[in-house]
Symmetry: C2
Subunit: 127 residues, 2 copies
Amino acid sequence: MSRRNTDVSDQFSEHACALAEVVDRVSGKWAIGVLVAAAAGPIRFTELERTVEGISRRMLTLTLRNLERDGLLIRTVYPTVPPKVEYELTDVARELHESLAGLTAWAERHRTTIAEARRAYDAKTAG
Amino acid sequence: MSRRNTDVSDQFSEHACALAEVVDRVSGKWAIGVLVAAAAGPIRFTELERTVEGISRRMLTLTLRNLERDGLLIRTVYPTVPPKVEYELTDVARELHESLAGLTAWAERHRTTIAEARRAYDAKTAG
DNA sequence: CTGCATCCCTATGGATACTG
DNA sequence: CAGTATCCATAGGGATGCAG
């Protein structure tokens, strides 16, 4: 057993903090959806609204603003009529998207395991 | 430019969905903190309360229950007096913790970049 | 088409007193 | 020590009408 009260604290400050930041950035129900939808190339507001299923106009706007603010999305306005706005991932966001691949793999590997764990837990809790 | 309306939809269903699941599981302010704190080995309730700074007793309990429910934490009760309960990561959770490394790296690489982007955005918005 | 403003409801989370 | 129960504040998010 390792001496946890001392050496863990350091790891904690470093790891957990940085991790919490990135998760915060990608949390909320919609950020990921938008990120993935935009990963394939520039995409318009309405296209996003259709692609990210279930998102409301308001939440789409808010999510886009936040991602733009963090430098993950580039917003390009074409002053045409009717107006046209395209959103595109920045390089930083692309890196993020790639880093997320590991997580996706994990999720797919253990999806059923987790569902099963949940079922078991709920059954045990209810009974 | 690729045909987005057709081929993106598939990627979307697969990627975004799995990703959203895992992020949901790790979202909330505390799950990550607890996960990281428990990564170094079995840890007791009170130790967690001290290690995960700022967490309330209530939220610690809720977070622990959720992680246990998803099969990410093992809860072991030692029927001693005073009571002693230890929480330990499951193998699945360890895998998750490792997958998270890529994200941590990303966060640390771009932490300042993002902070800067934010500053710039806010300045532009305010002005 | 893009997106802001408003209203309103619910989930999340903090504080804290109490129990086995 | 390890929780549970309760109360309360706030933030997240849905619906929708209005505007450039």
